[in-house]
């Protein structure tokens, strides 16, 4: 197996790679024949490619979640990377065939994320919040560290939910250190649980889709239900203020009714949670996109940021070396 990954190849370079089919959509071309619009992926990222004149057997064989051997050429189509397919087949025995081997993962190891979350739970000094957070992390331990944080927009990879959470916890800790009035226990508990419902809303990190309850109930209310059940299991009266506050953190974390929260933030910590969530998702989308943009040009439009296109400056200004000649200002 070739050690080079998909995005290691240059434009117009040919390759011969094992790739995971992330999605396969059958369409009909203007000439009346069917073709398959593939999205392939390996750990270096995702790339589209079209398979022309597909017959029924092809359609049957090459479905989302399948690993295939692909010969092709990396091209540029309307400014986006694309695969020109030469040949494609299913894998043989002995060849890599596990979807998990091909999907992007969080840039931090699962064990490190677990430890970082674990340490934070110790800082949740309110007993009710501490117990509910522990209970739910235990209940969904496996899924929590596998799930993506979204189907598409941000942190849409294996472990994305946990990575998004860890990243938000770091922001939360900077903020509580700076503004001492904030109830850090409530904020950390809110951060850890706010997107737990993604575990139920989405089908998982491979070929991610919405589940029925994801569609009809939504991840926000699904967490509220989990807190309700946790209280029953832990014999915590779910009508006490502690529980109401924690539920509000999750319910209000989209910040506005229009964004799907059934209530707007009415707690200082709920308002801050909304900001942190928004900020981390924004930076993740910006970095993902600008990493694929040439310096001195504008990026593709980012759907999650009002469809704006961002400019990547020309020269590397990130020298991070001290300017020697500058004097004290005041």
């Amino acid at each position: 197996m070739d050690e080079k990954k998909l995005y290691d190849y240059n434009i117009d370079e040919t390759f011969d790679l094992f790739l995971l089919i992330k999605s396969a959509i059958v369409r009909v071309a203007k000439n009346g024949k069917k073709f398959i619009a593939f999205t392939f992926q390996d750990k270096s990222g995702q790339m589209d490619g079209k398979y022309w004149d597909a017959n029924e057997a092809d359609i049957e064989k090459y479905q989302g979640g399948t690993v295939v051997k692909v010969s092709g050429k990396r091209e540029l189509y309307q400014g986006n990377p694309q695969i020109r397919l030469f040949h494609m087949r299913l894998t043989n025995a002995g060849e890599p065939d596990k979807a998990e081997q091909f999907i992007e993962k969080a840039p931090i190891k699962k064990e490190d994320m677990m430890e970082e979350i674990n340490e934070t739970v110790f800082e949740i000094t309110n007993a009710n919040w501490n117990r509910i957070v522990r209970y739910l992390l235990n209940k969904y331990q496996k899924e929590y560290f596998q799930a993506p944080a979204a189907k598409r927009f941000h942190h849409a990879f294996y472990g994305g939910l946990a990575f998004h959470t860890v990243s938000m916890l770091r922001l939360a800790k900077s903020i509580t250190a700076q503004y001492e009035e904030i109830d850090h226990s409530l904020l950390y508990a809110g951060v850890i649980l706010h997107d737990l419902g993604k575990v139920m809303e989405l089908t998982g990190p491979v070929s991610t889709e919405y589940t029925l309850e994801g569609n009809l109930v939504g991840h926000i209310v699904l967490v509220d239900e989990e807190i309700t059940k946790a209280c029953q299991a832990l014999k915590i009266n779910d009508k006490i203020e502690d529980v109401t506050l924690l539920k509000h953190m999750i319910l209000a974390h989209h910040g506005k009714l229009d964004f799907g929260s059934p209530v707007v933030p009415k707690l200082r910590e709920a308002e801050i949670l909304y900001h942190i969530d928004h900020l981390d998702a924004t930076i993740n989308m910006l970095n993902n996109t600008l990493n694929r943009t040439e310096p001195g040009t504008f990026s593709e439009r980012i759907f999650g940021l009002d469809n704006r296109s961002f400019y990547k400056p020309n020269t590397n200004r990130l020298s991070n070396e001290k300017e020697e000649e500058s004097d004290t200002l005041f």
Copy 2:
């Protein structure tokens, strides 16, 4: 005790009545002295009145929920009815002093509403929905038939929640009779449970206020939690489609994210539930307001209807007698 009620008196007529203080707000007048802005009520309705130069003892005595004996005159202030207070005192032993005796009630007897809802439950032929509806009606039987449907806008009276529900069930039955594709079991279950959370969101029919969980969680999600707990009590798997559909009915019943639903309707029956709820509330607000409007004039503005003012036609066109001379048209 006088048998005439507050709204039986004409403008500029004096009266001597037992009234319930619905709310009492202390303010400071331009002259620096305190006054109490009262809202009084009896079964005929509510009316405001100001108590000038209030001392601390007055403020202590005359609080929301108290029954008082009031001498005064009915006046008109900027087009709204108002009480000019002459004298006021607490009740003596033997005089009426129960808040319940003074508040507006649903125009149908509790027993009749119970029977009508009961009969409808029989028509919910899906076993899961039937069991959940029964369980929750039993659990909240007392509060369900006392609670108002809102703090202010529509059906804001004792038994208002149940009356609103019964009225919506009648609409729902007309509609399912007319459009046979509708799943009537799902629609009826949705109607019965959709506002059950008002029982927890509001403090009750006297001096109605929002509770903390009403404010921070809201009546929509509170019903979802109740369904979650009902499933646990009834040992119904809360991940089956039946339960997801029923939860969606409640969660989507405000119709739009902007109106506080965390998900928009994605089931035919959920969309219809939203329409029925909106229609019954609208007619209730219109009737309440137009009952207080003179023919040939425009009503006061109705907050719940985009602050519109409605015209009450001049002559009584509701003769409901057949026109004799008309011939068959086609």
Copy 3:
């Protein structure tokens, strides 16, 4: 002639059918050659099909409103039904060639709709409204029972306007029976006339398009003009309150300025007319779409319902049989 209709064929089944060309749009393919994007229809519904490499003679022959004999195969294209065309010709003498024979019709017979509307007119006890309604129904009797209620969204078929009206009258009657304060004469007159302008706004039930006055004046104002002319013909003073109220019913029936009403509803009956119209159109769109959706899947997006996709539940819950074991609840 084959008795099976277009939608009686299964996917991938071939057929040989007389069909009506509903619309024929000429486009240019990527290869620079022209093709015709057809929409065919018979009474079972509409289906698209592309005619490749069309020459000028083809374009001339195969225009909207023409009946043709089509050999083809029913296929599925991106989830939507589609015709793969094999052969196509004009009809010969003796073969069916009337557009009317191929278009969808209201599910109720014209005579039954006429009778139902006729009976309702008897219930309009206000003489002025009664006379205006009769006059206009007589004037447009033929068109009223042919016109569709819309070009696309709802009740877009032969007799759709009348069927939509009858359906709304049934809702109106349920509602007036339930809420007695409503002036039923005004509401029924409003229902019958509200969309009469479709008769002028649209070109008719075959190859429906907007007329110039449909575009520049619109069906709402067109009805207002008709009432104005009816008053002149009937020698009714068009400045009396009766006439103003009736005109308002029609002018306000879209409910909001944004939806094209020049005034918002300011009469109870006008507000209710808006709700009834909206509800009947909504249910019609939902039923049309869900009839074409597989159980357990989401429908195509419905443009007239904020582009939402609706879920069709998996199992048949419409058993409508009584549950035997349930006890009285209260």
Copy 4:
């Protein structure tokens, strides 16, 4: 009778004047007594004043539309001019008592406006439009030159409708002279008729209120009805394109659905009519307000201009004398 008018007096100067009561609203003061909030006017403008401790006889006597003799002082209240009332009485025989003598009028004489409109009608070379315009100007000749153009916002004075029309015609002529593609006949006909409905929508120039048909039908549709009736009287087929175009000019002249037009402009001339109307109303509101603003300060907020406050520059820059030293630029 004093020849000085209300606005000729300085702040803190006392006066003794005949004034017209434009409106008289009865309110109740904090001390429980009634007062009348008057708006007085003479030809110099309008000013508010409060009449404290009003008894029923006062309320009866001093109603909108009555001329009174007022002794008072001009004051400034929260930046707005106000009358401090000393004494007030009804007029005696022989004293001025006609409302018309006290209301603001258009700054052009009625005869000059008639002549200017008359000349413009000659330029409407399309026979149908010419005849309809003539017919309606004749029909409403008297009211057209008396009516205000609005209840409050702009041109709210005797003859305001005609003056607004004349002012717009001047703009229209500049524009048609500059852009030759415009159909000037259509534009002029549209300008002359666009606000004719104000004649029916409002009660007239004294104590202006909305009529019932103003409220329920609105001035836009009222003109459409008048065109419909004019066609009948003139035996013009109201289905020909000429008539549809003219009706569209009026129906679309508010420019957006949100502003109460039932259709948006779909003719070049309709779009331009909207701009001209908007521009003339804007300049009128700006001039009215800035005439009352001190140089170097911000004006009161203008409701009709998004509640904005405008700055009146400090020094007089309107010298309009040529700068002597400037050379030719290019």
Copy 5:
């Protein structure tokens, strides 16, 4: 060289012409091969055409700004004019090859526009405004008379900025003549400078694109910077009211925050400038589009006018001859 221009050819007529490539976008067809989507232009206008099966040499040769010799046929594609390409080559020595020879130009000669602007500058009697306007017109004299007023929407041609300015000045003069309260010096200075920033925001009249500072700073603020620099060069204190007023004219000229102005108009003249700009751009877009529309049909949708489609009336009503028989109206 053929003297006929592109738009002089009829549909389906073949031609052999020198044309300028305005833009050339490389795409990949469904068959996997690249093609170039060209926009060609000469002084008669712009037309699209596709070049199939383009190889790398073609892509290299045929870029935006290049003049080419084209053999082709004018066609109609979905209602829009289009070129069917037969053959295409670069120009030879001696053949026309200057982009400037092929681009649309303002319909007024540069010298006439200069003179008209020059004369207007004399009417700016405020010395500070006069000097700033002169300074900036001198500084950008060349670019000011070349630049387009926009990339696409209106006045998108060589000299478009100056022509748009001249056209607005004519409107401004009509308006100041009619409403005498307006400070004409301020208005004219505002008109002349309002879009000067287009000179920096756009790359120029050939293959117009946004510059980096056009994208990140925008033409509105760029003018403000130029005024700041002009004040420094002319030693005018940029904190005096004169300068603040002039800067406000430019900053507020888009009329609303949503349209990119950092402040809303707070001067009478700024509000009027916004109207004039909007009106001239609107008429320009309408005329451009309706010139290409057949009488009796609706135009293509105009992006800059809320995507509306406009109707071009059937018959020529622009006779501009006096109607003989009409009498004086009043």
Copy 6:
């Protein structure tokens, strides 16, 4: 002089204090007499109080910015603190009379803020940004450390601008430490300069009002002008990318056109600057308000946060002590 400050007194306690008149607005009471609505302040905060029956001498004497000796009582009016005035006089010689002694100040010393900003400037390693930032901080050194950050909403106190900046720099440093792709030089330069224009937009920390250029140009564009002038002074070409990027940071920092930015963020660092600014202002408003709210109640509405009311939880959950019994989670 009393060492106790205004907010050290309890409700209903009397006091005798030197206070600064922050603002004094003259109004007319219902009885026709004038009164002055004062806002007083000392370092503990601001409180309103009304001065009844004010004569012209009082109005003359007691204006904004004056220090006075006040005898009064602290009261509660509609939930807000208020002063009941007994007596009031100007200060005598030898008594405190400097406004600066009475206004709220940033909670960090000026010298510490200077040092913190100074150190950050060293980290701006891009020479152009470093020089521009230094130049402008030097130019406005005095005002920068006195100015408030707003007239009302957040950081509305002496030194508020600098404190807001320092607080944002701390957030910026946490974020650049966490997300390494961010250009920290650009972000820090943007933070330091983003609100520098407040120095010109507002009149200063005492009796803060908008200046004319604050109103007509606004603080965003005022900074852009300062960068333009700084480039001229420093002989930096203001057309290079470095300068364009820095200008964009300031211009885009309100995040949306609707919020007054003439361009939306199109640089990663500009988007982040918007988030940091929004977050710091939000926390400042929340803390200010919740500091004045009783535990277990809802706060007053916060204008700058969509007029929302926030709940202050009942019990002190900010124990910040480790929970002893909790075990490691994973």
